[in-house]
């Protein structure tokens, strides 16, 4: 339990309630379960240190979500650089993909294409199409300009369509 200026944040309760959802958010962002768990563990570890500064306990989930997105972005940045020297045997497959149906195959092709988008594009798509966040929530989560959420999504979808049609740039 962390004590802020006159307010109390129950970190253990937050952990119990939101840990799984945040790991899932991290998984769809970084597409790596171990990395996702690391991300969220770091987020909570940092949160414990910083929670004393949190004025409004109701803001905790938003703070944790934003921290998760930021930490996932760091993972993607590192990975993007690593991809310039891809490891042999990295087939780009998605763990657990069910390729037995045409739709599953198409879904997997889309998700592989997503991995070729810039982190910001991946984030905005995940927040919209998995977390189903509103424009305002995405603005807060990504700290981007109000009014650019929809254009950013549209732009990301344009790029995704181009990748699906022509292959990665």
């Amino acid at each position: 339990m962390a004590v802020g200026p006159g307010r109390v944040v129950d970190v253990s309760a937050l952990f119990a309630e939101h840990h799984l959802a945040l790991v899932r958010l991290a998984v769809v962002l970084v597409d790596d379960r171990a990395a996702a768990e690391d991300v969220v563990q770091d987020v909570f570890a940092d949160f414990v240190r910083h929670a004393g500064r949190l004025r409004d306990p109701d803001a905790a989930l938003g703070y944790l979500r934003r921290s998760t997105v930021n930490a996932a972005r760091s993972v993607l940045r590192r990975r993007r650089t690593e991809r310039q020297h891809p490891h042999a045997g990295d087939t780009g497959t998605i763990e657990g993909a069910d390729a037995s149906t045409m739709r599953a195959a198409e879904r997997d092709r889309v998700m592989r294409a997503v991995r070729n988008l810039a982190p910001r594009d991946q984030q905005v798509l995940a927040l919209r199409y998995w977390a189903e966040l509103s424009d305002t929530e995405i603005v807060h989560a990504l700290n981007i300009a109000p009014g650019t959420v929809r254009s950013t999504i549209s732009r990301a979808l344009d790029k995704l369509e181009r990748i699906l049609k022509d292959g990665p740039e």
């Binding site: 949190l54 934003r66 940045r77 590192r78 993007r80 998605i94 879904r107 995704l160």
Partner: protein, 369 residues
């Protein structure tokens, strides 16, 4: 596949990916209130052994450098000798000239040992030893005692460096892990360059300053315009942020052509070091003509054979002061018609965002800044 199908497949794909994670399958973690980075799993520690060794090497090199630099420039008796000399040779004039309120001019010259002054010695301060570091081709001069590593997350990433004083970043209570000076090579980051520059006002300049979503920091951008670093054009911005418990003053230079860099100082107490570093920096020569990303209000549009020639009055999105401009800079881009959406004509007065690969415009979008 139409847009609706694509959106549906995205939802299915994310749901499928997330479905592999359930509470039972997560590795067990200790109570977060007892969790520390040192308690991370062995696998994760192994992932970080190389950066840790590198950081240790940097510290050792810095320490050796400091020792050598100190040996080279320091007086043989740096601490005691100047004070002693001042007090015994001309105590009255020296002391009274600098501390008239606390040390009377009548202080006997013969009793310095029994009435030691509480003020610092009056010998001129020696310049701090410096050293040059090369980061992605940028040669930067910093105090010899400073470390080039990561006290925060960004500093451990390729293309990101955290420059910090030896005793750590002050104001740490408000900004744990924050760098005193943050250097990013957008060219090292590579494919992210365009987005990183687009983020520069937000991702680097305004990020998480108050550390809580519900608190809106009040901000004032004092300056926004162009400067030069080693002859290369850099976007410059200076802004202040007032949070409930602390304040920031950000100074940021973004060299937005290849090879591209962002230099950021968030804490005023390191401003002198930062400005000295900027003033004396040498950068790799510009290799491509265009800014990788730009925003501005359209002031002129003319049709060309292949598209449009668009003139922008550059503007910044600063989080709260949208479209801020203090120093008007006009830039012109040749936008191929092929990158434009047919239903979004470019009109004078509208704000547009331009993306380039450094040589040609690759994207142009209406924006709200």
């Amino acid at each position: 596949m139409n847009r609706t199908d694509l959106e549906s497949l995205l939802r299915d794909g994310y749901a499928e990916r997330a479905s592999h994670v359930d509470a039972a399958s997560l590795r067990s973690l200790s109570d977060p209130t007892e969790t520390d980075r040192l308690a991370l799993t062995r696998r994760r520690r192994l992932n970080w052994w190389a950066p840790a060794v590198a950081a240790a090497a940097v510290v050792i090199v810095a320490a050796v450098s400091l020792a050598l630099s100190t040996d080279h420039v320091a007086d043989p008796k740096p601490a005691a000798s100047p004070l002693h000399t001042a007090l015994t040779s001309s105590p009255t004039s020296v002391i009274s000239s600098t501390t008239p309120d606390t040390t009377p001019a009548t202080t006997p010259a013969t009793t310095p040992a029994t009435t030691p002054p509480t003020t610092p010695p009056t010998t001129p301060p020696r310049p701090a030893p410096e050293r040059a570091v090369s980061l992605a081709g940028a040669v930067l001069t910093i105090p010899a005692s400073w470390t080039v590593t990561g006290s925060g997350d960004r500093g451990t990433e390729p293309g990101h460096w955290c420059l910090s004083p030896p005793d750590g970043v002050q104001n740490n209570a408000d900004a744990p892990g924050r760098c005193a000076i943050d250097v990013t090579s957008l060219s090292t980051v590579g494919p992210l360059s365009v987005h990183a520059i687009a983020d520069a006002p937000g991702g680097f300049g305004n990020a998480d300053l108050c550390n809580t979503e519900t608190v809106t920091p009040s901000s004032g951008v004092h300056q926004f315009g162009e400067r030069t670093i080693d002859g290369r054009v850099a976007e410059y911005r200076l802004s202040s942020w007032t949070c409930p418990s602390h304040n920031y003053q950000l100074e940021q230079y973004t060299v937005f052509t290849f090879p591209a860099f962002v230099f950021l100082d968030e804490l005023p107490q390191y401003r002198a070091v930062f400005e000295n570093m900027i003033a004396r920096a040498t950068l790799p020569r510009q290799s491509r003509p265009l800014a990788l990303n730009d925003n501005g209000t359209v002031t002129a549009v003319t049709s060309t054979a292949t598209g449009y020639r668009v003139t922008l009055d550059r503007a910044a999105w600063t989080g709260l002061t949208h479209g801020f401009q203090s120093e008007h800079v006009t830039v012109t881009y040749q936008i191929p018609a092929t990158v434009l959406q047919p239903q979004t004509p470019i009109r004078v007065g509208a704000v547009w965002n331009i993306e380039t690969d450094g040589d040609t415009v690759t994207g142009a979008y209406p924006a709200t800044i």
